[in-house]
C-alpha cells in the first residue's frame, strides 16, 4: 500500500469531501422539503392528491436513483431542462430522498395512537390543530432515528453523481486512479472519508434522538 501517495493526494480528497458534504446538506434540505410535501399529499382528504403523493413515492422508490439522475441530466435538455451537473445532482438526489422521507414521516405520524387525535378533536381542536399540537410533536420524536437512516443513505447516494461528473469524493478518486493507477489506495481514501462523515452524522442523530425524548 502506497501510504506516501495517499498522504500526498489527501488534501485534494478533503476538498472533494467538502463538496460531498455540501451536496449532502442541500440534498437533505430538498429531501425534507419534498418529504413534507409528500406526506401532506398522502394524508390529504382529497383522493386525487393522495394519489399524487402515492405515485411520487412509488415512482421514485421504484426506479434506480442513477436512472433518475440520468433522465434529469442527460434527458433533461431534450425536454428543455438545462441544469449543470451539480444542480442536477442536488435536485435528482433530493427529490429521490424526499420519496423515502415521505414514507418515514408518514410512518411516524400514523404510528401515533389514534386516541391522541380523538382526544384532541374531542376538546374542540381542528384537524390541523390536533396535527401540529398533538400528533407532530410526538411523531417528530419517533422520526429522528429513521430520518437518520435516510440521511445515511442519502450521503452514500451522493456517490452516484460521480456518474454525471460532479467533482465530489467518488469522482475525485476515479480521477486520481487515472493518473496514479492505484485504485486500492484511492478508493480506500474516499471510503475512509465517507465513513468519517457518516460517523459524525450518526453521532449527531443519536445525540438529537436522546435530546428529544420525553422524560
Amino acid at each position: 500500500m502506497d501510504i506516501d501517495l495517499m498522504l500526498k493526494v489527501y488534501p485534494f480528497f478533503l476538498e472533494a469531501a467538502g463538496l460531498t458534504i455540501l451536496l449532502s446538506i442541500l440534498t437533505a434540505i430538498l429531501g425534507l422539503f419534498c418529504g413534507i410535501l409528500g406526506v401532506a399529499a398522502r394524508l390529504s382528504r382529497f383522493a386525487f392528491i393522495r394519489f399524487l403523493g402515492a405515485a411520487y413515492v412509488s415512482v421514485f422508490r421504484g426506479t434506480p436513483a442513477l436512472i433518475q439522475l440520468f433522465i434529469l441530466y442527460f434527458g433533461g435538455p431534450q425536454i428543455g431542462i438545462q441544469l449543470d451537473a451539480f444542480e442536477a445532482g442536488v435536485i435528482g438526489l433530493g427529490v429521490n430522498a424526499g420519496a423515502y422521507m415521505t414514507e418515514t414521516i408518514r410512518g411516524a405520524i400514523i404510528s401515533i395512537d389514534k386516541g391522541q387525535r380523538e382526544a384532541a378533536r374531542t376538546l374542540g381542536l381542528s384537524n390541523w390543530q390536533a396535527m401540529y399540537k398533538i400528533i407532530l410533536p410526538q411523531a417528530a420524536r419517533l422520526m429522528v432515528r429513521p430520518l437518520g437512516v435516510n440521511l445515511n443513505m442519502l450521503i452514500k447516494a451522493t456517490a452516484l453523481v460521480a456518474a454525471i461528473s460532479v467533482i465530489e469524493l467518488t469522482y475525485t478518486a476515479q480521477r486520481y486512479i487515472g493518473s496514479t493507477y492505484k485504485p486500492f489506495e484511492m478508493f480506500l481514501l474516499a471510503g475512509v472519508l465517507y465513513m468519517i462523515i457518516i460517523y459524525v452524522v450518526g453521532r449527531g442523530v443519536t445525540w438529537l434522538d436522546r435530546k428529544v425524548q420525553i422524560t
Partner: protein
C-alpha cells in the same frame, strides 16, 4: 323541526359499518343535570352511541341535539368543521385508555385547549389548570408527565382536562375499565363529585354498584337497541325483560 328539544336529544340514531348494523334506531333524551348510565354486553354499541354524541363516530342516520342545537348538522365541510369544533368544546369526553398527551405535563394537558381555543392568557390558563387539577385531587402532580402517573391519576387528569373547557355534558366511556381494582375508587369519587355538582353525564360502565349509586337512569343496551331503561332501583332489582335479567344475573354476580 320546531318541536321542543330536550337538553340531550338523540333521535332515531342509526349506525352501520357496511352490513353490520351497530345502532338500530335508538332514541334517547337526557335532561339537564341528569346522570344516565349505559350498560350492556361488549359489542352492543355503547361506545358507538357515546361517540356519536360528539360525532367522533358519525351516525349513518338520525339526529343528535344538545341544548337546542343539532350537533351532527349537515353542512359543507368547512362550515361543518367550525360548527363541530364549537359543539365539541361543550361536550367533555373521558376515554377508557385516558388518551392523555404524553409530551405534556398534567398542567399543559389541562390548559392546552383553553389556551388554544378560548384565547386564555398563560396566567389564566395556569390558574384554570390548577383549579381543575385541584378539583380532581391532582394539584400536587401538576408538573408531572403522564408516564409518571398511575392509571387512576391519569384518568383524573383526563377528567380535569375535559372539565377545563367547562362542558355542558360529560361522556364517560368505561372510564375505570382499564384500571387496577384498587385505583377504581379514586376515579369514581371524582365522578360522584361531578354528579353532586349537577353535571349532566352519560356514563358507559360495567360497574353496576357505581351506576346504582350515582345515576338517575340506567339503560340496558344489547345488539344495537335499548332493551330496557329505568331508574336504577327498578332496572337492577326488578327488570322486566328476560335479556336484562340474564345480563344482570351474570354481572351483578360477578361484581359481588
Amino acid at each position: 323541526m320546531t318541536d321542543k328539544k330536550d337538553f340531550v336529544d338523540i333521535r332515531h340514531a342509526q349506525k352501520s359499518y357496511g352490513n353490520l348494523e351497530v345502532l338500530k334506531d335508538i332514541s334517547l333524551t337526557v335532561e339537564r343535570g341528569q346522570i344516565v348510565a349505559i350498560i350492556g354486553p361488549s359489542g352492543s354499541g355503547k361506545s358507538t352511541l357515546l361517540r356519536a354524541i360528539n360525532d367522533l363516530d358519525p351516525l349513518t342516520k338520525g339526529e343528535i341535539w344538545l341544548d337546542g342545537v343539532q350537533v351532527n348538522k349537515k353542512l359543507p365541510h368547512r362550515q361543518y368543521e367550525k360548527h363541530i369544533n364549537e359543539m365539541r368544546q361543550q361536550i367533555g369526553m373521558v376515554f377508557q385508555h385516558f388518551n392523555l398527551f404524553p409530551h405534556m405535563t398534567a398542567r399543559d394537558n389541562v390548559s392546552m385547549a383553553p389556551k388554544m381555543l378560548k384565547g386564555l392568557s398563560k396566567e389564566a390558563a395556569d390558574k384554570l389548570a390548577e383549579e381543575q387539577l385541584d378539583k380532581v385531587g391532582m394539584l400536587e402532580r401538576i408538573d408531572y408527565y403522564p408516564s409518571q402517573l398511575s392509571g387512576g391519576q391519569k384518568q383524573r387528569v383526563a377528567i380535569a382536562r375535559a372539565l377545563a373547557m367547562h362542558p355542558k355534558l360529560m361522556l364517560f366511556d368505561e372510564a375505570t375499565s382499564a384500571l387496577d381494582p384498587e385505583l377504581v375508587d379514586e376515579v369514581n369519587q371524582v365522578m360522584k363529585k361531578l354528579a353532586e355538582e349537577d353535571m349532566t353525564m352519560i356514563i358507559v360502565t360495567h360497574e353496576m354498584d357505581f351506576a346504582a349509586s350515582v345515576c338517575d337512569r340506567v339503560l340496558f343496551m344489547d345488539q344495537g337497541v335499548v332493551v330496557e331503561e329505568g331508574p336504577p332501583e327498578v332496572l337492577f332489582k326488578n327488570p322486566s325483560k328476560a335479556r336484562t335479567r340474564e345480563f344482570l344475573g351474570k354481572h351483578l354476580g360477578a361484581t359481588k
